[in-house]
Structures are given as C-alpha cells and as structure tokens.
C-alpha cells in the first residue's frame, strides 16, 4: 500500500515537473554543447601539452627517434640543476714550497679538466662544465654546473627581469603622469608612445640591430654628435658586457607604452576631489603624489609588476633575432635554451625539463601576486 502510494506520488510529481525538468535538461545540453568546441580545443592544445611537459621531462623523448622512449627519472633535472664549487689553490713547487708563476708572472692553477674528466678521486665533479670563476684571495673558486649554458640562461633571464621590471614599471608611470593632463594634443602623444607596442618584436629587433651597429649604427652616431665626436663607437650587441643592456633598452622602448596605458587607467580611477582637498591643504606636487596618487595605484602597481615579470621571464624573440644568445652566451635565456634544445636539437625531453623550470618561476611570481593582493583585500 505504502509502495503504491509513493509510486503514485512520484508519478504525480513527475507530470507536474515535466516541463521544468525537460527545460533544465535542454539548458544543460545547450550549455555543454556550446562550450564543448572551446573545451575540446583547450584540452588538446593547452592542458594536455601542459601535463605532458611534466611527463616528458622525466624521459628521453626526441622529436624523431628510432628508439622507444624511456623513463629516465630525474636525469634531465640533475643535469640542469647540478652546481658544485671547486676550489683551486695556486700550484706550488713541491721542492721549494714557492708558488709557480707563468711567463707573465701570474700565479698558475691546475686545469679544471683534470677534475672533471675521469678523475676517480673526484667523482662528484665528473662530467661537469665550467660555469663561472671567482677569485678568493690567492684561490680560485670555480663554479661547475651540469649544463653551464643553462645556468647562464637562468641567470641572464633573472638579471634581465630584475633590471627591466623596476625600470619599465617606473618609466611607464612617468609617461602616464606626464600625459595625464587635459591639455591639447595629449592624445597625439599618447598614441605615439603606444605605437611600438603594436609593432612586431621581430621588426623592432631588426630595426634596433641597425641602430646598435658598431660601425654605422644610429646610436653611435647620435652619441658621437651629442658629445661632439668624443664618443668611442661601441659594438653594442657584439660585446658581452653591453649586449644584454642593449636588449634591455630596446625591450623597454617597445613595451613601455603598454604599461603607460595601464597606469593611466589606474590614475583615472583616483577621484579628483582627493587632489582638490590636498591642494587646499597646501600639498605640493610631490606630496600629492606620495599621499594621493601612489596609494590609489596599489592594485595597478601589483598588476604591472607581475605582467612585466612574466613577460621578462619569456624573453625570446629579441634574442633569437638579434644575438642568438651570444656573444659568449651573455644573452642566452631560458626560453631561448628551451627552443634550442627542444626544437633545434630535437631533444623534446630536455626542452620540456627547461620549460618546467621556466613554469616554476612563473608560478612563484603568480603565488606572490595572490599573496600580496589577498593580504590587501582583507
């Protein structure tokens, strides 16, 4: 009796809700169907390769290879991240105890390769490459790395980022402050400053190669004219000590207009009343900036610093077009190395391992951003 009762009630409910339920069914179906092309494409070309990057990094996968792919554990990461310090002491004559000097009177040191090539006494240095050398008193501190070029890429990328982020961020703000006026012609200047942003980085890199040229370069000629000929021409991209700075200058020139526009949007959210109040209180331009403008720009600032950092980590096009990582690996970067290994040498696994390290950096910055903005929100 009870069972029949329940069943009858269900029946009744069913008839009552039929239109509602079927409407909900069609709504779900329409939702899924309309989202499915995008979901499928994002899965195949975004999520799957992202997950694969982590998987491939633990294999010896190559783009084309007759041999089957094997799991190699942490081997790729060991090669990427191994760093060891080798302390070299001056060579001393065993008979006299006096340091042996070379023909020019300089202290001599044992060759690094005697430690890194099949020396059974120093298995920890076996196969490592010379990355960089410091002096410490009479001793030489030789930093060895599993992949010296990768270490240089990592540090070049970090150096580029550390210089570009504050410089580009503050120059963008400066431009925004200059342009944030209701005077005639300001829109024209805004357009001009923004123009390089829409020009391809490839085009910009070729143009600046010409500007930075050591012989006929515009930069040398302009500096020569400004100093009335007292400037010694520099081969900006051909010199290891100036090449990265040249890339930095050009990169800022290309992208700063973008950040100017974002700063401008931030500036325009600050109510004009605040400036009027500050002016009534007798605050000067600098005081107004410190007490009204800057506090109002906090979110904008976080966003700008994060976007410049992310873009700076990805430094590639300029390097590929202008320097190919040279001279002497002074401009090689993480993404440039990932492409060199993964594409040009077809070592997909090693390139993926570099991509994973690259993503780890991006993730750290994203988490810092989360932390900073959340703290402010509460």
């Amino acid at each position: 009796m009870t069972a029949l009762d329940t069943s009858a009630r269900t029946q009744a409910n069913h008839t009552h809700d039929q239109s509602g339920q079927s409407a909900r069914f069609w709504e779900s179906l329409a939702g899924w169907l309309m989202a499915s092309p995008a979901i499928t494409l994002l899965l195949l070309f975004m999520i799957v390769p992202f997950i694969m990057a982590f998987g491939l990094a633990f294999t010896n996968q190559r783009l084309i290879s007759p041999n089957p792919t094997e799991f190699v554990g942490l081997r790729n990461f060991e090669r990427l991240l191994t760093v060891r310090l080798l302390v070299l002491q001056p060579v001393v004559d065993p008979a006299t105890g006096v340091a042996v000097l070379d023909e020019e009177g300089q202290t001599t040191y044992p060759a690094v390769r005697t430690y890194t090539r099949n020396n059974p006494e120093y298995p920890q240095f076996d196969g490592l490459q010379e990355w960089t050398t410091w002096s410490w008193g009479d001793d030489k501190l030789v930093w060895l790395a599993g992949d010296a070029v990768f270490m240089k890429s990592l540090f070049n990328t970090l150096f580029f980022t550390v210089v570009v982020v504050p410089l580009q961020g503050s120059l963008g703000l400066l431009l925004a402050l200059i342009i944030n006026q209701r005077t005639a012609g300001v829109n024209i200047f805004r357009t001009i400053y923004f123009m390089p942003v829409v020009v391809s980085m490839v085009v910009v890199s070729i143009l600046w190669r010409f500007i930075y040229d050591g012989q006929n370069g515009l930069l040398n000629n302009i500096l020569g004219a400004v100093t009335l000929g007292n400037f010694q021409p520099v081969d900006w991209l051909g010199n290891p000590s100036t090449a990265m700075w040249a890339v930095i200058g050009m990169s800022i020139w290309q992208a700063v207009g973008f950040h100017m526009v974002i700063w401008l949007a931030g500036l325009q959210t600050i109510p004009g009343v605040l400036y009027e109040a500050a002016a009534v209180e007798g605050a000067g331009a600098w005081d107004q900036f410190v007490h009204v403008t800057w506090p109002g720009l906090r979110n904008t600032a976080v966003f700008i610093l994060v976007t410049i950092t992310m873009a700076a980590f990805g430094l590639f096009t300029q390097i590929n077009v202008m320097t190919r990582g040279g001279p002497l690996d002074s401009t090689t970067t993480l993404v440039f190395q990932a492409v060199q290994k993964g594409f040009e040498k077809q070592d997909i696994a090693y390139g993926s391992a570099i991509s994973v390290v690259f993503f780890a950096l991006v993730l750290v910055v994203a988490l810092i951003q989360r932390f900073v903005t959340r703290e402010q929100g509460e």
Binding site: F45, P49, I348, V356
Partner: protein, 294 residues
C-alpha cells in the same frame, strides 16, 4: 623637486617644459619607425652615408620604390603576406565563433560543472605559451591530417597547425563571459518566454548587442597572430606556408641589402600601424582591458 615647485608658480613655463619633454619623448618613440620608412626608399649606399647625419630621417637624395619591387623578387613576399592574412583571418573568425559561444555558455545557461569549467579555464591563464610550446610541437607532429591525398601523419608544414591550436583562447572566453554577464538578464528571460532556443538567444539576442567585446577580441587575436614568430619557426619549414615574420629570414641569407630589409619591414608593419591609427581608441582600450582582469 624644488625646480618643479618653482615652475608650478609659472604656468607658461610649466606648459613649455611639458610640451618640450613630451616632444622629446615622441622623438625617441618615433625615430626607429621613421628611419625604417625613410630608409626603405633609399639605395643601400645612401642609407649607410646618411646614417651619420640627420638625413637618415629625411626623404632626400635618390628616392624611389625600387626596394619594394626588389623584395618581391628576392623572396616570395606576396606568398608570405597571403599566408599571414589567411592564418590570421581564420584564427580571428573561428576564435570569435568558438570563444563567444563558450563565453555565452559559461555566463547564461545553468548546467552542472559550469563553475568548475570556468575556474579551470581561468587557471590556464597563468600558463605561458612558452611552457607548452615544446610538448605541443611533439603533439602536432603526431596528429593525423586528413587531406585530398588521404590521411598523412603530422601537422608540420600546414596552415592548420598555425590556426587550430590558437582558436580557443582562455582570455577571450573570459572577456565574453564578463560581457554577457553585464547585459540585462531580462532579455534572456523574455526570449525564453517567447520560446527561443538557447542558441537563438545567443545568436539573435546577445551577439547583436556585443559589438564592443567582439571588436576587443578581434584586435587581441589579430595582433599576436600577425606578429607570430616562435610557433611558426618551429612548425613551418617550407616557404609555401611561411608567415611574414618568418619570411624575413630570406633577407638575411648571403649579403644583407638593408634597403630591401627596410622595405619588407615597412610592408609588414604599415598595415598594422594604419589600422592602429584609424582605430586607436579601440586598440588602446582593448589592450588596456588585458590590464583590468586582475
């Protein structure tokens, strides 16, 4: 800071200094572009000679369009331009379709899993393309291509390898979701009562109201596609399918003729610059909109 304060009392001086500074900055941002256009009109020897004087920025001397004609002789420039127009246009059109539908689906109809899907899509925004480029290269090299000559393995050296991976775009979807949610929801209810299907609501009610977001997504897809470089150098090795930025390599084989290089750079840059100048408000606002997502 003292100087600024003193100047502040004198409005005219401030104005003069400000315009002087703005003009100087304008020169810094303009000179490489002006140099490019001007040099494209000069013979190589004159480019070198002029580079030591102000003549580098003036259309003086032996001016002609010879370099432009030469760029089409030295390389299949016309082909490169066609390839870039084709891949860019396809990606923009397919992208608008796929992403606007997804945006609508994630904004308006209610379905199980919608929140999760949206969260996942937004989470992918922090994955830079550089992270997935290498595994993606492996994937596309193994995918089957169905063509007139049957099924072949691998997408390398095709048009679709330059288009399909970039059709769905998380940020475009995000912009569409934001926009559709901002439209008055009474429109949807009214259309439901009239018996419109969900697709009809999307196509006939929402899309006609969404001009601004379609324009923004078009600009944000167009620019990186036209300027594409990292991906095409990896997946396109034959000139038949090369886009303009990769085609540039042709001008750096053997002896470099700078006049032709400048002409080629002008050809591939000027259309973008003209579009930018014509639609500058839309361009600047679109690109700035990427900054408001935080």
């Amino acid at each position: 800071m003292n100087t600024t304060r003193i100047l502040h009392r004198n409005q005219t001086a401030t104005t003069v200094v400000r315009y002087g500074l703005m003009s100087l900055l304008a020169l810094i941002f303009l000179f490489p572009i002006v140099f490019m256009v001007i040099s494209s009109l000069k013979p190589d020897l004159q480019i070198m000679q002029d580079s030591s004087s102000f003549r580098a920025f003036l259309p003086v001397g032996d001016i002609s369009f010879d370099n432009y004609a030469e760029t089409f002789v030295r390389a299949p420039t016309g082909r490169f331009i066609f390839n870039s127009i084709l891949t860019t246009a396809l990606t923009v059109v397919l992208g608008l379709l796929v992403n606007s539908m997804a945006g609508f689906s994630l904004a308006i109809p209610r379905w199980r899993g919608r929140g999760l899907v949206l969260t996942l899509i937004i989470a992918t925004l922090i994955v830079p393309f550089e992270t997935i480029a290498i595994p993606l290269l492996l994937i596309v090299s193994r995918l089957p291509t169905i063509g007139l000559d049957g099924i072949t393995q691998g997408w390398l050296n095709t048009y679709h390898v330059q288009v399909i991976p970039f059709v769905a775009n998380a940020f475009s979807i995000f912009l569409f979701v934001q926009f559709f949610k901002s439209l008055p929801q009474e429109l949807v209810e009214a259309a439901r009562i009239d018996g419109a299907s969900w697709f009809q609501i999307f196509a006939n009610v929402m899309v006609p109201l969404s001009g601004p977001v379609f324009a923004t997504v078009t600009i944000l897809t167009f620019l990186p596609m036209w300027n594409a470089y990292l991906w095409p150098i990896m997946v396109v090795q034959i000139e038949e399918f090369r886009p303009v930025m990769v085609g540039l390599q042709y001008f750096f084989q053997l002896n470099v003729a700078w006049g032709e290089v400048m002409a080629y750079l002008t050809i591939i840059t000027l259309p973008v610059l003209v579009m930018f100048l014509a639609l500058q408000r839309a361009f600047i606002e679109s690109i700035a909109s990427t900054g408001i997502k935080g």
